[in-house]
């Protein structure tokens, strides 16, 4: 199996992608949305003509709401980002946007999140991430409890977690780049996407590990089998189904991305990336790593003999 033969190259590609993602996170930083940091987002569409951005900018700054970000949307619309607004401030803002009712507009959506609500959500999100990671680690340990030779079961778990991190870090890196260039914001759905990727990706790795487990069990009678060969054979037998199961999910995700609601667009894109790299990692990262670990295990044993 060529994947096992050239395992160092494939592992290298993964390492490079992860490093690149981490780097983009450090360089660009996270563009945190109002869900977490609090603030208000108002979307309006003008009935006839959209006023120039400069004109509105001036009158908005005069309101004294601090920094106001104005983004054009569609042909006639604006998205206005401010700090969280009270009822009266909201009315004043609409009044200003409609240029004192001379330019009629429709308010498409208004979302104001107080800072305490944002902090609560952040806490909740962190707690959910920790709990789901713990649950999945426990589940991996449980799923691989029976495989112990020649690579012990907790190493399967560890490798599954390494590939899990890989699958999460790359889409996050992608998101950070997107948010830098297209203004996507880190919101509640982003957290949901990360957590869903965790679930989807581990299931994919398990399909292949399950096959290795089965082949190991069947060949236990033959004394000395090359572990790398068994993994290679298992990969050969299962990479088609691994790709196919991911493809069905990717197909629906692409449908969601291209045709679905605007609000879930980045969500679908992140999940697609997560699915793609999840499949990639279970074939090109997790299994080669397994062989690499086994080889490292053998080396010191040989040295002591010599």
């Amino acid at each position: 199996m060529f994947i096992i033969k050239y395992k160092k190259i494939f592992i290298g590609i993964s390492v490079a992608l992860v490093a690149f993602s981490l780097l983009s996170m450090i360089v660009f930083g996270f563009n945190v949305g109002i869900d977490f940091k609090g603030g208000a987002l108002t979307e309006v569409v003008y009935k006839t003509e959209r006023p120039a951005q400069d004109t509105l900018d001036k009158s908005l700054i005069a309101l004294g709401f601090g920094s106001v970000v104005l983004q054009p949307t569609g042909d006639l619309g604006y998205i206005v980002k401010t700090r969280d607004l009270s009822d009266q401030e909201h009315t004043t803002l609409l009044q200003t946007l409609s240029q004192n009712s001379t330019n009629p507009l429709t308010e498409m959506s208004f979302n104001s999140v107080g800072p305490t609500v944002g902090q609560e959500l952040t806490r909740k999100a962190i707690l959910a991430i920790i709990l789901i990671s713990l649950a999945i680690i426990c589940f991996i340990a449980f799923a691989f409890r029976k495989v112990s030779k020649p690579v012990s079961s907790w190493r399967y778990g560890l490798i599954a977690i390494v590939s899990l991190l890989h699958d999460v870090v790359i889409p996050i890196g992608l998101f950070v780049i997107l948010s830098h260039y297209y203004g996507a914001e880190l919101d509640t759905l982003f957290v949901v996407a990360v957590l869903t990727i965790l679930g989807l990706s581990v299931s994919d790795t398990i399909v292949i590990f399950d096959r290795i487990r089965e082949n190991l069990r069947n060949q236990n009678t033959i004394a000395k089998v090359n572990f790398g060969e068994i993994v290679g054979k298992s990969l050969e037998q299962s990479y088609v189904r691994s790709i196919c199961t991911s493809l069905t999910v990717i197909l629906v995700l692409l449908a969601l991305f291209f045709f679905g609601p605007v609000s879930t667009r980045y969500f679908a894109l992140m999940l697609t990336a997560g699915m793609f790299f999840g499949t990639y990692s279970s074939i090109f990262l997790a299994s080669p790593l397994l062989v690499l670990v086994e080889e490292w295990q053998k080396k010191p044993a040989r040295n002591t003999k010599a």
Binding site: G114, L189, R241
Partner: protein
Amino acid sequence: MWKKIVLALIILVLGGGIALFVFKSEPRLNKNFSTTYSFLKNHPFRLGLDLSGGTHLIYKADISAVPAGQVGDSMNALRDVIERRVNLFGVSEPVVQVQHGGLVSGSTGERLIVDLPGVTDVKQAIEMIGQTPLLEFKTEAPTGTPQNATVDKDGKVTLDMSSQFVSTELTGRYLQKAILEFDTSTREPKVSLQFNDAGTKLFAEITKNNVGKMVAIYLDGAPISTPVVREEIPNGQAVISGSFTPTEAKLLVGRLNSGALPVPITLLSTQTIGAILGDSAVNAGVKAALIGFLLVVIFLILLYRLPGLIASLSLCIFISIILALFKLMPVTLTAAGIAGFIISIGIAVDANVLIFERIKEELRSGQTIHDSISAGFSRAWFSIRDSNISNFITAIILFWFGTSLIKGFALTLGMGVIISMFSAITITRIFLGVFSFIGEGKVARFLFNSGLAK
């Protein structure tokens, strides 16, 4: 053999029935919907605020004055009052719920969440809730309490009223009704209050203990009337006479009667979605679901031929069951919820892919079609189980922790995972069983083999 065919037919008819129910109970798809059975009428899809348009408000309840054991009661009373308020304005299907503080919900205090479908005017929405008056009765502070007096630059001394009075247990929640009256001699409007039994007792006690002293009546945190008690009032009647205009007095009576708030609330966050935005999100969601479904069906049939066709049939039944459950439970659908449902379409056929790949493998190793099918199902089971468990864990924890947005996604995804195990394994197996007459000929082997690889 006949048994298998009958079983398959029963499932087909049941599946068709469920699909018919889903179709017939949707107002948009049926022309004469108003004349249909009430059972069908009562089960349209329930759309969340982001799809139907409306307002979502989060309030913080100030429970600092409520004794620890009564927090739950007060919050429920608060919810009832606000529900009554909202119903008064004729909002259809409002949702008013209490979110208790604690580790599980991740919030630091008591919250009240109000969903108002169809109300896109935030100002109006906040008014209908927030203007409910908070009525309090306070008694004079014992003599000797330090008083906060401020001296402004002109040398005028103002006394801070709040330190002069202390709160009592008597609040607007003990109010039975308020009536607008006019003073017979001065013609000034006044508001007379009638307390309920518990309130009457409290009021009697307060008046008894404070004969000759002032009792302050506070409305929304400000004193509106500070009458001096002349004698104990045992019948639970009080009168507020301030400098009201008749209109003000009338408004106050209306507001008091619709229920005074047991605890004060402040608005924390607002979310409003216009109906147009919601509509386009629904259309986009339906379109994405249809296209996603078609892509999966094409993929299955191209790759797995006959079994792929059968898996597509099970997928149709899966979708009917899920949609029927959305209606019957009912599940409130949001954009994220629809995304969860669409993803579950993709996950639903995962089990089929695993089984069919296994069947192909068994076929290649020279087994008969019949044996390959049973081996395929039994051997693929473990990886199906394991791979679904991890998704299910994620869905459960997300549901447990989530805000309403996350809950919608977790619920639809979790339901999808469970029901897909049933449809992809049991239903597909029953349908495949019917095809055992196909024999072992060349055509049969072609139909059961892969469409793209050899």
